[in-house]
């Protein structure tokens, strides 16, 4: 495993870091040491005070989207995992239901992304349905190409990333513990808060790591669902890359990596997922 990472991640990461410290002009990159990729990124951060500079605004927006997605995926994911782990009793049905949730992902995301327009657009299924039901008279515009649609699509994509680890840590919980709690007169809620959640914590943290890391770097979903008009850390990198400004893109990626690692290490400081292995 270490070898795979060394070959296909660490070495490439090293190259990227080297490139991030290269100089570049409008048309090509120059292999000479320069921190311009970094300094350009933070351009105007001090000069523009008290207004926020581009990079800060972008990261704030990304964090906001990330937080919203995280809360929603956690709530939905936890509930779904709870249902699968404690209420679906036979393994067969657990597997069948899991597969049922996986099937949509076997149709390529490229196709699924396109399908949001006929679903949420002005003449889409949802607007048609609402109009047909007489609830609205004008199509609802904010359903598509808005922060709403971005979060909706992210939740849609990544809730399952939350379900899988939480489910796996829940089925490790000894059922007798829960029965004992009930026998001792605990309400369902008390059992949930005092037994299930603490014991499922590693799963929750792992799911959170998945969701946070992916959303922080996402540009495809935010791009398409935001009509390419919503800023995100990943999107800055994408714009740089597509303009073939590799050093600047690489510098931005290194910054993103640094920031997200900080978030994650804070998270694992609260719950050490490796402690109880």
């Amino acid at each position: 495993m270490m070898l795979v990472f060394a070959l296909f991640f660490l070495l490439p990461l090293l190259f990227v870091t080297i490139v991030s410290a290269w100089d570049y002009n409008e048309y090509e990159m120059i292999p000479a040491f320069s921190l311009r990729g970094y300094s350009d990124t933070f351009e105007g951060c001090i000069a523009d005070l008290p207004n926020l500079c581009t990079i800060l605004k972008t990261y704030l927006k990304t964090l906001k989207l990330c937080l919203l997605t995280w809360v929603l995926t956690l709530l939905i994911g936890f509930t779904v995992a709870y249902f699968l782990a404690f209420h679906v009793r036979s393994k067969t049905w657990q597997i069948v239901l899991t597969l049922l949730c996986t099937i949509p992902f076997w149709t390529s995301n490229v196709i699924r992304m396109i399908a949001w327009i006929p679903l949420l657009g002005r003449n889409g299924l949802v607007n048609r349905g609402l109009e047909g039901a007489g609830l609205i008279h004008q199509p609802v515009e904010w359903l598509l190409f808005s922060e709403f649609s971005v979060v909706l699509a992210l939740v849609h994509l990544f809730t399952f990333f939350m379900v899988v680890p939480i489910f796996n840590s829940m089925i490790r919980i000894d059922k007798r513990l829960i029965e004992a709690a009930y026998d001792a007169g605990a309400t369902g809620w008390q059992t949930l808060v005092n037994i299930v959640i603490p014991l499922a914590k590693p799963g929750i943290v792992i799911g959170s790591i998945f969701v946070i890391t992916i959303v922080m770097g996402d540009f495809v979903t935010i791009g398409v669902m935001g009509g390419q008009q919503i800023a995100s850390a990943g999107k800055i990198i994408e714009a740089r890359l597509n303009a073939l400004q590799f050093p600047a893109a690489a510098a931005n990626a290194v910054i993103l990596l640094g920031i997200t690692i900080l978030i994650i290490s804070a998270l694992t400081r609260i719950v050490d997922v490796r402690k109880e292995l």
Binding site: V4, I103, P104, P202, I237, L277
Partner: protein, 292 residues
């Protein structure tokens, strides 16, 4: 079954159903629109109803050979799946005993998740470029490139699936009762026997889950593949490439077909399992109980 379900069961079941409906939301648009008439487009309104687009999927007319890239993605997905399972399980086992570099490996895995896929992709491409240059310089004639589906492409996909596999393993081994293993060891089992007969049966369903997860991630992976796949594309890449020109509802038809086949397979598998279970119950055998 027999015993009564608590009220919370029905509430949660309703919630789960709602979640599944939400998951299938865009899929409904796909299912409906794949029956678009011959002049129809990718959005509403429907322009007649027909089956032509299903025919198009099979006749394979079009710029790219969807069938071929479908197979390529399937192969890659299966290899990635197998490797992800093997590497994740062994790494998961290793992490249960602390070893040198454990923390480092953990953070590397996390970093691999964070790094935007396009950047990783670019880094791998650069690496292989250097490798190619080196090979050409060292005098291998007719060398084109070391890049390909099962070299750089596979590597890129593994950097994506392995962190997931590893972290899910953490969830699986969380509070894993190590007394079971000790008992096995006390009875004279070799480490391999312990793993094979004690640990594996317990974690098997979850391991299947990891495999499924790995396959799905690889199957749908786009950005990481874009710069590392060499001269043959995976299915998502080909589909994305197709969107640069007139795109027709045949891609929806492909989606509908994929779902339909998956449903069919799962339904049949379920049927087989239920029949087997019923037979087992009839014969009163307890062999294989708890396996499915």
């Amino acid at each position: 079954m027999g015993e009564k379900r608590p009220r919370s069961f029905y509430l949660l079941a309703a919630f789960f159903t709602a979640y599944v409906l939400f998951l299938y939301g865009p899929m409904f648009a796909i299912y409906i629109l794949s029956f678009q008439g011959p002049d129809g487009g990718l959005t509403f309104p429907m322009n007649g109803v027909s089956l032509v687009w299903f025919g198009k999927v099979f006749s394979g007319s079009g710029i790219v050979d969807i069938g071929a890239s479908f197979k390529r993605s399937l192969q890659l997905g299966l290899v990635v799946m197998a490797l992800t399972v093997v590497l994740s399980v062994s790494a998961g086992m290793a992490f249960r005993r602390s070893f040198r570099g454990a923390t480092f490996l953990f953070y590397v895995a996390i970093a691999s998740l964070i790094m935007p896929s396009i950047i990783t992709s670019l880094g791998i491409a650069l690496e292989f470029r250097l490798l190619d240059d080196f090979i050409i310089k060292s005098g291998v004639g007719d060398w084109t490139t070391a890049m390909g589906l099962f070299t750089s492409g596979l590597g890129a996909h593994l950097t994506w699936t392995l962190p997931f596999g590893l972290l899910i393993m953490f969830a699986i081994f969380n509070r894993f009762d190590s007394r079971l293993e000790e008992a096995a060891r006390d009875l004279g089992a070799t480490p391999w026997q312990t793993f094979r007969h004690v640990v594996l049966p317990i974690i098997l369903p979850s391991v299947v889950g990891i495999g499924l997860f790995g396959f799905t991630l690889s199957w749908d992976e786009l950005a990481r593949s874009s710069q590392t796949i060499g001269s043959v594309n995976t299915l998502p890449l080909d589909l994305q490439g197709l969107t640069t020109t007139v795109t027709k509802p045949d891609i929806y038809a492909l989606g509908t077909l994929t779902s339909a086949v998956s449903f069919l397979v799962i339904f049949l598998a379920l049927l087989v399992i239920l029949v087997l279970q019923a037979r087992q119950r009839r014969h009163g055998s307890d062999a294989g109980k708890g396996m499915v």
